[in-house]
């Protein structure tokens, strides 16, 4: 009797633990939205990636369609080479535009894809030719100041 | 007469000190042997040596033809399965009740069904007069009661060798007589070999077959009760008649009182 009581309690304990894990996985974490299984990788060159990190989201029209796989620096061309894993279910035209955006003012950076009008689609290993760099706050401010100054010159 | 346990030229000491020097003892099959001696002379230690819990410094201990301290883990466990030991302070498992304490060796070493274990445990508890206390926890027992439970646990598997470390300490005269009879009858009925460590002179002389006296780390005297009673050795006489003055010191070796008091 004593023994079965113990077993029941331990069973309840394990079940609460599993329930907590389930809660963490589905409600807290993005296990459900993140189950991109089969992907193909494409590349993009950026002059400046800002704060983009590996595993950052890749979105098209706000929908997560892939993840940044790796970021390396090309020592010959002096730019960043970003490799992107895109979900196999989604295809994009060859002239797709890749931008680095920031979620909110200080949020994480992600890559936004904007489809172009080409008839052929991007295939694994292709290069996205049209890119726009991350907005760097300092640059923005200095640009703003210069334009102000030149306005005043006139 | 066949020796089940023999201790040959044993020396032992904790750390650097020596406790036993050159001890020889033989314990015969089917006999009750007693080890007597002053407090702290190393009686308990000898039992632990026989059980293989301590390593001798030199000499050897042979149990049933096997040298105890040369065995590996399996070997020593095989020897121990033939042994039962009553610890001086009982050493009951405090997280188990009386019944489960006595059932412990059976559950660990046999595949007996639970109802048979129950019968056996109640039998053993009945033998020590504690069947009524089977549901109690060790913390709810008196000193004498817990030693009797420990005794029941030591004999649970009807071992070939039973070692009792002061089985009579803390018992009233009636329980003492009962336990005496129990030890004797276990010994005779099972053909077990019993080793008793005790201070109780009268009881020991009345029922042991052979007695060893330990003093100064050596066997000071040995023999059957009859031989010892006739002995003229001052040491034996002092012990039997519990005289204060004699070769057995009451005090642990110490510098003179003056040194300790810094006079």
């Amino acid at each position: 009797m004593e023994r079965t009581k113990l077993d029941i309690w331990v069973g309840i304990f394990v079940i609460i633990g599993l329930a907590a894990l389930f809660g963490l996985a589905t409600k807290v974490g993005n296990l459900t939205s993140n189950n991109i299984k089969e992907t193909y990788s494409v590349y993009a060159h950026f002059e400046n990636i800002g704060g983009l990190k590996p595993r950052a989201a890749v979105k098209a029209a706000g929908v997560v369609v892939g993840r940044v796989n790796s970021i390396i620096f090309d020592t010959e061309a002096y730019h960043a080479v970003v490799s992107i894993d895109v979900d196999k279910r989604y295809v994009f035209p060859k002239d797709t535009f890749a931008n680095i955006y920031t979620a909110g003012l200080l949020g994480e950076q992600y890559i936004g894809l904007e489809a172009g009008g080409d008839m052929t689609n991007l295939a694994a290993g292709d290069l996205i030719t049209q890119t726009q760099d991350a907005v760097v706050l300092e640059k923005l401010i200095s640009q703003f100041l210069y334009s102000k100054a030149s306005e005043e010159d006139k | 007469m066949e020796e089940l346990i023999s201790i040959n030229n044993l020396s032992f000491g904790y750390g650097e000190s020596t406790l036993h020097k050159n001890i020889n003892m033989k314990f015969s099959r089917g006999k009750v042997s007693a080890i007597m001696g002053g407090s702290g002379c190393g009686k308990t230690t000898i039992l632990k040596l026989i059980a293989g819990q301590l390593q001798p410094k030199s000499g050897e201990i042979v149990v049933d033809g096997q040298v105890v301290h040369d065995q590996g883990r399996e070997g020593i466990y095989n020897i121990r399965r033939k042994m039962g030991m009553l610890f001086q302070h009982g050493a009951l498992f405090t997280d188990l009740n009386v019944f489960d304490n006595v059932a412990f060796p059976m559950r660990e070493h046999t595949n007996l069904p639970e109802n048979m274990i129950k019968d056996l445990v109640l039998l053993k508890l009945n033998a020590v007069g504690l069947r009524g206390a089977q549901k109690k926890m060790p913390s709810e027992l008196s000193g004498g009661m817990s030693r009797r439970v420990a005794l029941a646990r030591a004999i649970a598997l009807d071992p070939d060798i039973i070692m009792y470390d002061e089985p009579f300490a803390g018992l009233d005269p009636i329980s003492m007589a009962v336990i005496c009879d129990l030890i004797r009858s276990l010994n005779d009925a099972l053909g077990a070999t019993s080793i008793i460590v005790t201070h109780d002179v009268a009881e020991t002389f009345s029922f042991a077959d052979y007695i060893y006296f330990l003093a100064d780390g050596e066997v000071a005297a040995e023999g059957s009760p009859k031989q010892l009673l006739a002995s003229k050795l001052p040491f034996v006489r002092q012990f039997i008649h519990s005289e204060k003055d004699g070769p057995v010191p009451f005090h642990v070796d110490a510098p003179t009182y003056g040194v300790d008091l810094q006079l």
Partner: protein, 261 residues
Amino acid sequence: MNNLLNIIAGLGSSFRSKMIRLGAGTRLFFLIIIYSADSFKRIGLTIREIYFTGVLSLVIIVVSAFFVGMVLGLQGYYTLEKYGSSEAIGVLVALALVRELGPVVTALLFAGRAGTAITAEIGLMKATEQLSAMEVMAVSPIARIIAPRFWAGMISMPILATIFSMVGILGGYFIAVLVIGVDEGAFWSQMQANVDFSNDIVDGAIKSIVFGFACTIIALFEGFDAPPTAEGVSRATTRTVVISSLAVLGLDFILTSFMFV
């Protein structure tokens, strides 16, 4: 000069004795692994210990977790509010709990509640010759006493840490959404967008497994190694708390620098 030598000698010998204890602890670990097969044959023993280390720690874990979550909710809200991003409160609470506070606070509570109980119990069993008695009955105390407690600790800790994280998040939810009135949808969706299962949650679980190992083996070793006296056992119990806590915080730093940087 002589003083300096004495200090160095003292340091050396204390270092040496610490190393000896570390070695003895490692030895105990290998013995546990060797004897585990024996003890798994009687799985009931381990289940019993899970009851004592895990189930009985549940209340303290749940209560502490809820309060920690509420404090995180409050503090986080007032800080994020200044930057106008109070919706990010969910992310803050969840990441803080899943990555750090869940495993670490659980381990500290575990060391205080279950670790001390293990040390004191084993130390007393040793002091009252129960372990010796078991040895003489040809039952290995490692298989019968130590190994079940080890596995129970290893199993309980990740479960407790998971529960801690989840309950803490609910505590944060309670304060942020129900009391302060942050938008519920934003709370959960921001959290989901920024807490990654394989990175954050799994890494937190790995931490709690490592902490479980450290706390349990320290508690077992201290009990097993305690001098068989009342004083020895009480000092061993204190040491369990101190060493486990330091080990958890140190290991946490090392693991964090591997995992999240």
